[in-house]
């Protein structure tokens, strides 16, 4: 597991800034509300085909989602919630993006083409197809890919959402292959979010629990810093906590 191999050369010490933690947890609530109200809206016409036509690519047409995962009670309620939370979802994303750019943090968090190799090596390492863990600081390439990718997913969710909300006023739906396809893309993005969330929960609750802690309280305590492998000299009396500042 990561814990045993993280002994590596560069112990990580950093802190998740308050603004990042706030936008993260707000996003959890907003995204859950967007998805639940979206599934409610979907239930009004649980299919994609234009009337009198077939749609190739959705085998579960006609099936609705259980009441327990829907928000809004009926179509109008679902729409009201969706178009209310939408503002928060977009605003939260803009605050997050503004912070990334304003603070310069994007430099060590954003995925860039040159990170692809490291992301691949991390994936191999997690799959136990590679012995040596790539060395990295704060975020590895795979993390950068995941977090940058999920932001891109948010942008696509908003773009496809506006495409189907304003198919006559805006040319977006046309660019996405027409209204039927734009609606389908919007729907698929939900499952991409769900897939990301499952992977994200596994990584932060099972593989690196310190990441969960840092997303709540801020400071990331690297096990390598907390428990040095070499027998440590006895700490000075009093403050013996090696918690990174």
């Amino acid at each position: 597991m990561k814990r045993s191999v993280q002994s590596v050369d560069r112990p990580v010490r950093f802190e998740q800034p308050l603004l990042l933690r706030l936008t993260h947890w707000l996003n959890v609530v907003l995204l859950a509300g967007m998805i639940a109200s979206g599934l409610q809206i979907y239930g009004a016409y649980p299919a994609f085909a234009e009337r009198g036509a077939d749609f190739c690519c959705w085998p579960l047409a006609g099936k609705r989602f259980p009441e327990a995962v829907r928000l809004g009670g009926w179509l109008a309620g679902g729409l009201k919630w969706h178009l209310f939370l939408m503002w928060g979802f977009v605003a939260n994303g803009l605050v997050w993006l503004g912070w990334q750019i304003g603070s310069g943090e994007w430099r060590r968090r954003a995925f860039r083409p040159r990170d692809a190799r490291e992301a691949w090596h991390m994936a191999l390492w997690y799959a136990r197809l590679r012995d040596r863990k790539p060395a990295y600081q704060v975020y590895n390439g795979l993390q950068k890919l995941a977090y940058t990718g999920t932001f891109a997913l948010g942008v696509l969710a908003v773009a496809t959402g506006f495409a189907i909300w304003k198919p006559v006023s805006l040319p977006l739906a046309e660019w996405m292959g027409g209204y039927v396809w734009a609606r389908f893309w919007h729907f698929l993005i939900v499952w991409a979010f769900v897939g990301f969330t499952i992977g994200h929960l596994f990584m932060t609750l099972v593989v690196d629990r310190e990441a969960t802690r840092s997303m709540i309280v801020g400071a990331y305590r690297d096990p390598a810093l907390e428990k040095p492998r070499a027998p440590a000299p006895s700490p000075p009396a009093g403050e013996g906590d090696a918690r990174p500042a």
């Binding site: 016409y45 299919a47 009337r51 309620g77 209310f84 304003k166 198919p167």
Partner: protein
């Protein structure tokens, strides 16, 4: 596929469930959610000015093989077209009482448009009729009337529009569909048709068009669907 009536039944049962505590519609937050229609209306008007150019005419031959019929009455509303009249009133200089022949004699246009139902389905049809703007001109509608109210003989179904959208060149009083006279299933003798707003705004089985100073809600709008409902 569920039709609109099945949807109505489902909506009623879901409303009953909501009352029982399941399928939460927001409860005490519902008034806030409804009030939020106004910021959303502002956003919609920012994205596309109501009177602005918005064509999206569909390609010839793209008419859908099926087009759902929908009405709120227990039975399909029908009227004898020989006695039917469309009353144009409200803030107008010359109130009109138009027969189907009168309408058919007015300048006509045919537009092939995609119909967007708020449920999420679409269907294409070509619609032939008289522009609402043409009727407003004929009746001498007062520019101070900022809204247009559309009434029907379908169990009291109605809707109201902002004037600019109603007088947009893509808003018609349709009397023909796909090259034939309008059938009772689609709102005969005459219905409002436009691709600027969701289907529930295009009132079928028209009886009256009134130019009014205030928005007058609508059948679905009063239940919770968006009033502005621009596409």
């Amino acid at each position: 596929m569920p039709d609109r009536r099945e949807f109505l039944k489902r909506a009623a049962s879901v409303a009953a469930l909501a009352a029982a505590g399941c399928g939460w519609d927001g409860g005490p937050l519902w008034p806030l959610l409804r009030a939020w229609d106004r910021p959303n209306e502002w956003l919609q008007k920012s994205l596309a000015p109501p009177g602005g150019p918005r064509a999206r005419i569909e390609a010839p031959g793209s008419e859908s093989a099926a087009f759902p019929q929908y009405y709120i009455s227990p039975m399909m509303p029908r009227v004898d077209a020989r006695i039917w009249r469309l009353e144009i009133g409200g803030m107008v200089a010359r109130p009109l009482s138009l027969s189907l022949a009168d309408l058919a004699a007015m300048p006509r246009v045919t537009l092939r448009l995609r119909h967007y139902c708020i449920e999420g389905w679409t269907a294409v049809a070509s619609w032939t009729g008289v522009r609402v703007a043409e009727i407003a001109r004929a009746a001498g509608a007062d520019p101070a009337a900022g809204f247009v109210d559309f009434r029907s003989f379908d169990g009291g179904y109605w809707s109201s529009w902002d004037r600019q959208s109603a007088l947009h060149p893509q808003s018609l009083i349709a009397i023909g569909m796909n090259g034939a006279w309008l059938t009772p299933g689609h709102g005969a003798p005459a219905r409002l048709y436009s691709n600027l707003k969701y289907g529930y705004k295009s009132v079928k089985y028209l009886t009256g068009v009134r130019f009014v100073p205030e928005r007058t809600g609508g059948y679905w709008e009063d239940k919770g669907y968006d009033w502005y409902a621009s596409l």
